[in-house]
Symmetry: C2
Subunit: 606 residues, 2 copies
């Protein structure tokens, strides 16, 4: 069974040395008490919970899966107890508003906790994860009555939430959603339709489930402008004529999916058979309200990606430090490898260069992924604390630009990392009981849900890079260039900065070309989308690795007893710039060829 220790040291490095957390979030109104010490104490508690409670149920839960019997879903053994403990510990309330019973900590803290939870069990983490979206949608768009009914229950974790968007014919394209909502005399609505792929759609962890459902009012215009958002509880949450609170609503679970991974997570088909729902926000304003949840969910997917990559990397590293096979070529310059050759003359596989290549790829990506989501999380703190200010709006814009990159690039990284985690284990990686193959299967959902990565790439090239006539992109790129120039001023980091500078230039060129294509040649933009997003992601990770390298460079002088930690960071940065960043050139060339090679075939020539 895989092991796990939460990456506390890594997080501290990022918060303290790289992002200067204490000069950032505690200076924001409302977050004054969320100092680094407080945050680290919270994370220590989460680390313990994940290691003791979640990691032990992850592999058995995958084996057992969820059960569906006579219309009801049961989670695997241990999940109900784990959730009860999670709830008692107050984790659902972490970043919720004190107005509704929350602890009022900044969003960034909740996201770091979610990373640990995702490492422990991606399936488990999705149950409370989706509640966050329901909480935020009701908080932002619900009326006072709905807030009073639902928010305290979501915050104390006694109820959970879902997002019900997808229907069989409408996945990436929501314009054809058919679920109907008809007004009732008592002010509620009757919701009728079938929703599929509903994560946490039914389960036994809480008594009630709060479904957020996109549906059409009778007078709705066609397309996505005709969607309205409703809250539809599994059990009624208030007394109604003829039905008391606690009575079952007409929300019926049709089945649960047999999935490749996240098998302890109940992905349900839900049939709404005239179920009672309540409108949230304006009629026909559902998509806008839902986007609040979807953008948060996409950041959540990125955090999951980092979490599953982290546990895969930890176990690959541990295996590489204990497995001996063959004799590694000896490196002429001094390393400590010969010291570890076994009595039988065989070397640890960590001393084999090709295994190193895989391990360093995992390490460079995983640590880069964490830096990326944390950088975004600190913007979420700003947005939360400074809503309706220029600073908040700037944070909002940068989040809008980077969210598709964050979601797609990190979910692709999660596949690469977990795939390498299998490969390093050789045949053992393919065996269920070692857990490595589960990490890949669990991770395989992240490029698919919350908008496939292809859809994210289109969002980036068709909408996001042109935000505010390109000024949002320019402002972000200027910040990348600033940290590149800072790194260039440090002699030992100059070659890394030079590599980043080249990649930044490519991204600038590519962006200009895409925006020029936009009007007349949209098919080229669409054909370039995925490669452009990969280029964008590599440049972003490069900037973050430069920041980490600068911090490690400074830290090594300041803090000699942590020298090996900082040296490891610098060596990993070197690897990133020498072995991973160069792929940006291939992506640039591919993006710049647009759709030329894509659209030459007719469909019948395939």
């Amino acid at each position: 069974m895989p092991g796990y220790d939460a990456p506390i040291r890594e997080i501290r490095f990022l918060l303290e040395d790289v992002f200067g957390y204490d000069q950032h979030t505690p200076n924001l109104p409302g977050f004054e008490e969320a100092t680094l010490d407080v945050v680290m104490a919270v994370l220590d508690g989460a680390a313990e919970f994940v290691k003791d409670v979640l990691v032990p149920i992850n592999l058995p839960g995958d084996r057992e899966g969820c059960h569906f019997d006579q219309g009801a879903v049961t989670t695997p053994k241990g999940y109900k107890e784990a959730y009860e403990l999670y709830r008692q510990n107050g984790w659902p309330a972490l970043a919720a508003s004190p107005d509704w019973g929350g602890q009022g900590l900044p969003p960034s803290v909740a996201l770091m906790v979610r990373e640990f939870v995702a490492s422990g069990s991606m399936s488990f983490g999705m149950y409370p994860g989706l509640s966050q979206g329901a909480y935020r949608a009701i908080l932002a768009h619900g009326n006072d009555e709905l807030k009073q009914i639902y928010l305290p229950k979501l915050v104390d974790g006694s109820w959970m939430g879902t997002m019900c968007l997808t229907e069989p014919d409408s996945g990436s394209d929501l314009s054809r959603l058919r679920t109907r909502a008809e007004p009732d005399a008592d002010g509620s609505y009757r919701i009728t339709g079938t929703k599929i792929f509903i994560s946490s759609g039914d389960h036994d962890l809480t008594d009630n489930i709060v479904h957020l459902v996109l549906a059409r009012l009778p007078d709705a215009p066609a397309g996505t402008r005709g969607l309205s958002l409703f809250v539809v509880p599994k059990r009624l949450a208030q007394d109604l004529p003829g039905a008391l609170a606690g009575a079952p609503n007409n929300v019926n679970t049709g089945s649960i999916e047999h999935k490749m991974g996240i098998r302890a997570q109940a992905t349900a088909v839900l049939n709404f058979d005239g179920a009672r729902g309540w409108l949230i926000g304006k009629p026909h304003g559902g998509l806008r309200a839902m986007f609040t949840m979807m953008n948060s969910s996409r950041v959540g997917v990125a955090v999951q990606s980092a979490g599953v990559a982290e546990i895969s990397y930890q176990n690959a590293l541990a295996y590489a430090k204990e497995r001996r096979q063959g004799v590694a070529p000896k490196v002429s310059k001094a390393t400590d490898s010969t010291a570890r050759t076994g009595n039988d003359g065989r070397d640890l596989i960590i001393d084999h260069p090709d295994v190193r290549r895989s391990l360093l790829t995992m390490k460079a990506l995983t640590e880069g992924m964490r830096a990326f989501y944390l950088d975004m999380a600190l913007l979420l703190d700003v947005r939360a604390a400074r809503a309706n200010s220029p600073e908040g709006e700037a944070a909002e814009n940068r989040l809008a630009l980077l969210t598709p990159v964050l979601k797609s690039f990190l979910s692709d990284c999660a596949l690469k990392v977990t795939e390498l985690g299998i490969q390093i284990h050789g045949g053992y990686g393919y065996i269920h009981e070692n857990g490595m193959e589960q990490f890949y299967r669990d991770a395989r959902i992240v490029p698919l849900y919350e908008g496939t990565n292809g859809i994210q790439a289109l969002d980036l090239v068709l909408r996001k890079i042109g935000l505010d006539d390109g000024r949002v992109f320019e402002s972000w790129l200027a910040s990348v260039e600033a940290c590149t120039e800072h790194a260039a001023s440090i002699a030992s980091l100059a070659s890394m900065a030079a590599a980043e500078r080249l990649a930044v230039a490519k991204l600038r060129d590519a962006t200009a070309r895409l925006r020029a294509w936009q009007a007349a040649s949209e098919w080229h933009v669409a054909g370039a989308a995925t490669d452009y997003l990969q280029l964008f992601g590599l440049v972003t990770l490069g900037a973050l690795w430069l920041r980490m390298a600068c911090a490690a460079h400074a830290g090594r002088e300041r803090n000699p007893q942590l020298a090996s930690f900082f040296s490891g960071k610098l060596g990993t940065a070197k690897f990133f710039f020498e072995r991973l960043l160069p792929a940006s050139e291939t992506h640039f060339d591919a993006a710049m060829s647009g759709a030329d090679a894509l659209m030459t075939l007719r469909a019948d020539e395939f």
Copy 2:
């Protein structure tokens, strides 16, 4: 449930238009009757068997898995019946010698049948697939008595074989194998030890199983030079003092593995408890005898890779031609896409450029994979027909050089293709009943077994490129250059040839550098291995795509009624050179940086 039609048209194109099969194999002694018409008739039969018998049991077999109860293994429902039909149809005898009841067809034909079988069920294909290795090892190294006992049974399929190499402490590194063999008075040996990860190790498809086991004689030297090969039947195959033929041998199944994929294939732990075995070949000559089997197995893995990629591609294509989502950007130049926009204004996803990119990647890789293994298969025909001649030796050498590339590059391609097959399906790709995720899980074994891809890469750089002081490599590269120059002479293919020429130059440079590093800086060679192999694989596929493009160019003029088939080939070739080959530059740069970025960290700095 996924569909499948064997790629008969593709195979005919390769045999007839690209490789000139009828001027090749039927001209070899012993294969005169294996004309193109005969081969196509055999393949039509295999296509029907796979579609009618194997495809229907593949998904249910994955769901059910193998059973292990009271020491015995049962395969999933339908597998025993399918195998009985396979045997009755004579498929096990296809390429076996008529001396032992075989049909005497060339190896290439058997491999094409194996591709179809692997598409239908990778798990199923491995059962008879491993028998081939046992057949060849006994044929090449066994004495007459062993041949007479075992070969007719293996050829008529009433018995099956296995390869027993791996032990818990010895996977990639066979030098530490511990299984012992002690001579008995009757000329047999007593085999004692535990073997793990034994494919087809136990099952109910045949009455007897013929294990080929590596073990050490009492006087064996240490390391791989002390290994001998034994045939150890599950049930005795001849009368012995105190035990009659048919009596159980002391080969006990300890367990079967719960695996990520190929779940209808029984991967067993086998305990040999003083089991009776018979020496094959010379004492301490076991590894050499086993290598005969292992090289064949590696070609077999490549064929499996092509098979699983093919069925994934077929189903992704079918889905892309029936699923409508969103509105695709219209391409200004004439294509047929607008003709297919649905009544509801939505387009088929095959008309979305980003989906095209994925489909074309799948198509270009899958068809390239098939061309690669078939090119090798025709060398196997030469080797089989012209053993001990200069022509046979040249074929042998080229096979030795290219086998690690074939095995690793194609297995990596299989992962890429099956991963895209999931992605094109969106959320549906993650659901078991649609089959796409099974293809990935099944494919995930190919980079791991028969020598991990990392081990193959080391074999390539440390041994194969230096074969005969580099002349084997030079001779192969000259053939690549010849087909590049041929393509360059055709105006419409000149830009593809130019791209290939650049990649060939990189491969030449990289090879020279690696050979120069060899003596003094082996760690650089090892650090470069995987990227060098990827570069090598891309150049190989490039040469094959040029040959396919030349053939399609000629075919389009000769055969106008197949114009859309040939146009499809030319368009796919264009895509390969514009969007896939350019990755060769990144791999070149990475390989040329050797181990510099890999060995800077100490193990405790990870």
